[in-house]
Symmetry: C2
């Protein structure tokens, strides 16, 4: 099928850019001896996960049990659930996954560890476990130090759990330049202190897992890190450009839209809003819900559920009802989750159509 | 199934409140001799649409052709597409719908009217048409006056289109109290001028369609209005409460979540974020991504894709990992669109499970 035959709105993946993004991340990881375990939340599509694995990824990361189930068909031998799994129903399902492939779970409470061990025993499964530490985001994760030690000692005593190491999410370290670099170096010191403390208590660490897309290509500054799990890097998006981690030309995902109204002078209305792009904003105070590829000077100033309001006064060209324009979303992970399908495009031809199988797998 | 057996996150509909919301809207419409053509974008579920029809609705409204296709199974005899439909592929599909039930389209450009007429001729269908006017939102819609006249004259001349009247969206008139009332009265004057102008040119208006949930129960103030098409009223949400159109007790939809981490003092993390609730905020500057039913004094202060950050320092109670709490979302229409299923609950029992069939029907 030709790109021109696709109806709108449609989520397009530029295959050349996508493949380059995969290669670049793996080349970086290999150069710095880091294991690449990409987070699949961005694409939620087993076939794309398979491509990541073929391009050098050593395993996959998911956030939810439903995503883990979906990712089985990627053929991965190694799944990390980077999310505390709470409750018997989910844990039974995860144990079923763990009987098919290696599953590691990140957690931050003794209760989560006990529940995981109970499920492992009941279903004769085994789980790897990473203890999550909070390195400043203030989300999940215990405080490095005595809290971490107590958690790891609990994990270590529980049957059918294999303590493997520590994990953290450094996504808040998005400031550009030297500030970020210094924060990453400091993170290495924290990790060193954690592993030292655990080692003095006879607890070995084999995995130190961190790394987000914003800090992806600076991960080597974190001493002791063994593994990175970026998600967004496969496609990139407006936020990734804005935090300095890629250029606009590295954004593989765009949403093809149609102009449906130009009734108001100086404005065009696109056939996509918060149900197509999500209402994720860029940094507080900055305007814009996406970048218009054909006229980047335009401001995508507002949206409702199905309407995108674009101020075209700086466009340098005219737009008419029926024109098609492509938009780079602010946050591709939430945008993908709104689409049933993605279309892989090269040279104006739709080479592949992907069903977003993990979409809406909230449990 | 018992509510306690449902895993989280899960979208719950309190059936008592839901049924009361349906009855209240129809009673109001009947009292004021207004036709009720509810917008199904809120629930995207044919069975709920059928219940609206049984509860007095005279037809249904949709935003997209894909939603129109899905809503055929509700058994409606009357569908309004309140959105300009542009492009041959969509129009062919809509013509197929129009051969099964009566379809009316709202539009604001001569091009949209010509394309619609072409599709009607090609597929031997007939479309009703409403001319959309802009009453201040600045989204779609021509300016009342000469622009409207020119558009309606175009529609009137085109084959297989039946001009029926005018439509507008007054959703921006959300200010509480007398200001809103005065704006609605003024809207009546605008409508009077529009119909007068068209009548003087021999163009009859039989439908004047407007009305959103925020202004629902003040619609009688708009002289000349014949039809309302509220959407959110079936469930209501935080935004509807905040604009004064309902009380918290009228919110039928809540999202059941589980506390997955309390590692940081004064905070709990829920197993839902922007992929569960959407990132829609309340009015600019006001904090909060949802109301915690069990402890309304808590502040749902931040979210990532799968994490909800709740400040529990004002909760007046303790929360532990594994506790379940319900959240009233800010904007239920975008939240529903993120869920595969909704669960209708009464007295702690799940009476009905709905598949959100129109979810992600973006085209």
């Amino acid at each position: 099928m030709l790109l021109d035959e696709l109806d709108t709105p449609a989520l397009l993946i530029d295959l050349d850019i996508f493949e380059r993004n995969l290669e670049r991340a793996y080349a970086y990881a290999r150069r710095h001896n880091l294991r690449l375990r990409p987070h699949t939340k961005t694409h939620k599509t087993p076939d794309i996960a398979s491509r990541q694995l073929r391009a050098g990824a050593a395993g996959l990361t998911v956030a939810k049990v439903g995503e883990a189930e979906v990712m089985l068909s990627s053929g991965t031998a190694d799944l990390l659930v980077a999310y505390p799994v709470i409750g018997q129903r989910k844990l039974s399902r995860l144990a079923a996954v763990a009987r098919q492939t290696r599953v590691t779970v990140a957690l931050d409470s003794a209760l989560a560890a006990r529940q995981l061990s109970d499920a492992a025993c009941e279903h004769q499964a085994t789980f790897g476990v990473l203890a999550e530490i909070d390195v400043g985001l203030g989300r999940v994760g215990v405080t490095p130090g005595e809290e971490l030690l107590a958690l790891v000692q609990t994990i270590d005593r529980l049957p059918r759990l294999e303590f493997q190491g520590i994990t953290f999410y450094p996504g808040h370290l998005k400031m550009q330049g030297e500030q970020t670099d210094q924060a990453l170096v400091n993170l290495g010191h924290t990790i060193g202190e954690c592993s030292g403390l655990l080692r003095r208590h006879g607890l070995d660490i084999s995995i130190v897992s961190g790394g987000s897309t914003p800090t992806l290509f600076r991960s080597h500054l974190v001493a002791g890190l063994t593994e990175i799990r970026p998600g967004t890097y496969v496609f990139n998006d407006g936020n990734t450009v804005r935090c300095g981690a890629c250029a606009w030309d590295d954004c593989a995902a765009t949403i093809l839209t149609t102009v449906v109204s130009t009734a108001r002078p100086g404005q065009m209305i696109l056939d996509g809003g918060s149900k197509t792009f999500s209402s994720d904003r860029v940094h507080a105070g900055e305007p814009g819900f996406g970048r218009i590829v054909e006229a980047p000077a335009c401001v995508f100033r507002a949206m409702n559920e199905e309407h995108g309001y674009v101020d075209v006064r700086s466009a340098g060209r005219e737009f008419r009802v029926g024109d098609r324009v492509r938009v780079i979303p602010n946050h591709i992970c939430v945008a993908v989750n709104l689409h049933e399908r993605m279309y892989g495009v090269r040279n104006g031809v739709v080479e592949v159509e992907w069903k977003v199988e993990g979409r809406g797998k909230l449990q």
